[in-house]
């Protein structure tokens, strides 16, 4: 569903992404692991063209990325995005935030007048139901807890009825229990609706728990690809070079959960 071929992104001298190729199938959840600054965020943003790549090709559902602005918006409308800070509009209601996911399919004049078709509202409520927040539809978004706000972020992405979802560190600011709820919601939606999910994480433990497949990125290059079971000490050393040289006290407990810390010692 998501096909990336030879994707590169340069900022002057700095190569943020070097010849990255990957595929994510319908209903598959692929987790991208890598240290901060490895290019994970850049990769996601090059896929929906929030960042213009320097070279390479991205196809969503077999369609190449179009050149026109209208074509670009059509591409984006088929790709949902979830952000670390959820990026909800704080003063709007939860329902309106989710309806924002349908803006690209509404007649523009109606949306500007805040008129919404019953069908769009039904889809939005349905998506809120998938993250079990339909009873909060009329609350203001900033009245919700961090975990709830992130689940509204998922509902907004689902309201796009997307072929693919890009999730950029969706649980980085959440506690472990809430993080599991958010990732389960995402995974369930991916399975049930056949959505290809590409999810950046920096917690190896969550990757092993939720990923169908893992891609490791270091310094803008793919250095690992395989099932979560294949994430052994050697693979982790490729993704996080230098980590095995650190003492246990230096290693972030978040990024290396207990069983893996054992593997590394």
């Amino acid at each position: 569903m998501i096909e990336v071929r030879g994707l590169s992104k340069r900022y002057g001298e700095l190569a943020a992404l070097v010849d990255v190729s990957l595929e994510v199938g319908a209903g598959e959840m692929v987790v991208v692991l890598g240290p901060s600054g490895a290019g994970k965020s850049t990769l996601l943003r090059c896929i929906n063209r929030l960042i213009e790549p320097s070279a390479g090709e991205v196809r969503i559902g077999g369609e190449p990325a179009p050149g026109t602005r209208a074509g670009l918006r059509r591409l984006r409308s088929q790709v949902g995005m979830i952000f670390q800070d959820h990026n909800l509009v704080p003063r709007l209601s939860v329902l309106k935030n989710v309806l924002a996911g349908r803006l690209s399919r509404m007649p523009e004049w109606m949306s500007l007048l805040q008129l919404f078709r019953a069908a769009d509202v039904r889809i939005a409520l349905d998506c809120l139901g998938r993250v079990e927040l339909e009873d909060r539809a009329w609350s203001r978004a900033d009245r919700l807890s961090g975990g709830q706000q992130q689940r509204v972020g998922i509902a907004r992405a689902l309201a796009q009825e997307p072929r693919a979802i890009l999730a950029d560190e969706p649980v980085a600011s959440l506690d472990p229990k809430t993080a599991r709820i958010v990732l389960s919601d995402l995974k369930r939606a991916s399975r049930e609706l056949g959505i290809a999910v590409l999810c950046n994480l920096h917690q190896v433990g969550y990757a092993m728990e939720f990923a169908d497949r893992v891609i490791g990125i270091h310094a803008g290059r793919v250095v690992f690809e395989g099932s979560p079971d294949a994430l052994d000490a050697q693979a982790l050393a490729q993704i996080y070079p230098g980590l095995d040289g650190l003492s246990e006290a230096d290693a972030e407990p978040d990024s290396v959960p207990a069983p893996l810390a054992d593997l590394l010692s």
């Binding site: 995005m81 003063r91 924002a100």
Partner: protein, 269 residues
């Protein structure tokens, strides 16, 4: 040669060089103030000599002529109407331009600087000067006052509106762009909800400022209660002047109170 030991003032070490710099600044300030005071004929003895005249003026104002109130009903309403329409037209002028004057939405730096300069010019020129221009253009009367308040107010509101847009969190804007929403939709759904409280607060403040300005526009024949104030002074009807001053005070203080309460409530949300 060894430098002299510094003196410590308010926890900072002061060396001879810094002392000399400060003495220089102080001397320059004193010179500028003395020069200005001479040019302005500041004089305590003149003030003391004039005090009996001030007392005489005030004594002629009491008791205020309360029956003059009925002559002020129309002008009071006109003053409020001036403030309201002046604010409304200022909003209409500022709204389309403020997006161009916000760094994060402007199409180009050139447009940004051009619009900001237009706002600065409109804001930099006093309402009374605009009123004089418009009295010459559209004739004596409140319409000239409305135009004066609109232009000056548009300069202030435009700047405030643009700054509120610049303070909007870019996260939601990026999120809505990522859904494939069109540019106007992104502005209406991600930028406006964030900027609106600050916009309303700025507008209320402008309404309050306009009411104050509208009380003196009458002095140049641009409508409002200022005309009555000015003519009573010219006719030496100081009891009437006192009534005007009291009415203006009540109006301005009420507007002040209501507007600051409303603004506090809106910004707290």
């Amino acid at each position: 040669m060894k430098a002299a030991a510094p003196v410590f003032i308010l926890g900072r070490a002061w060396h001879t060089r810094q002392w000399l710099q400060w003495l220089g600044v102080l001397a320059a300030a004193c010179a500028a103030l003395t020069w200005s005071a001479q040019d302005l004929h500041l004089s305590i003895s003149e003030l003391v000599k004039g005090l009996p005249w001030v007392a005489d003026f005030v004594s002629r104002m009491v008791p205020p002529n309360w029956s003059f109130m009925q002559r002020l009903v129309r002008p009071v309403f006109e003053t409020i109407q001036l403030a309201i329409w002046g604010t409304l037209l200022a909003i209409l002028l500022a709204l389309p331009l403020c997006f161009l004057a916000a760094r994060n939405l402007t199409p180009s730096p050139l447009v940004f600087h051009a619009t900001r300069q237009v706002f600065n010019a409109a804001r930099g020129i006093n309402e009374i000067i605009f009123a004089l221009v418009f009295v010459a253009a559209v004739g004596l009367g409140p319409f000239a006052g409305v135009l004066a308040l609109s232009i000056h107010g548009a300069g202030m509101l435009g700047k405030f509106f643009a700054e509120a847009i610049e303070e909007a969190d870019p996260g939601p804007v990026e999120a809505l762009r990522a859904t494939g929403a069109r540019p106007l939709q992104v502005i209406v759904f991600a930028v406006l909800p964030q900027a609106l409280p600050a916009w309303i607060a700025a507008t209320l403040y402008r309404l309050e400022v306009n009411l104050r300005a509208a009380t003196i526009l009458g002095m140049v024949g641009a409508g409002g209660i200022g005309f009555e104030l000015y003519s009573s002074l010219k006719l030496f009807q100081y009891e009437d002047t006192a009534t005007c001053v009291i009415v203006i005070l009540v109006m301005v203080m009420t507007a002040d109170y209501v507007s600051s309460r409303l603004r506090a409530r809106i910004l707290a949300r």
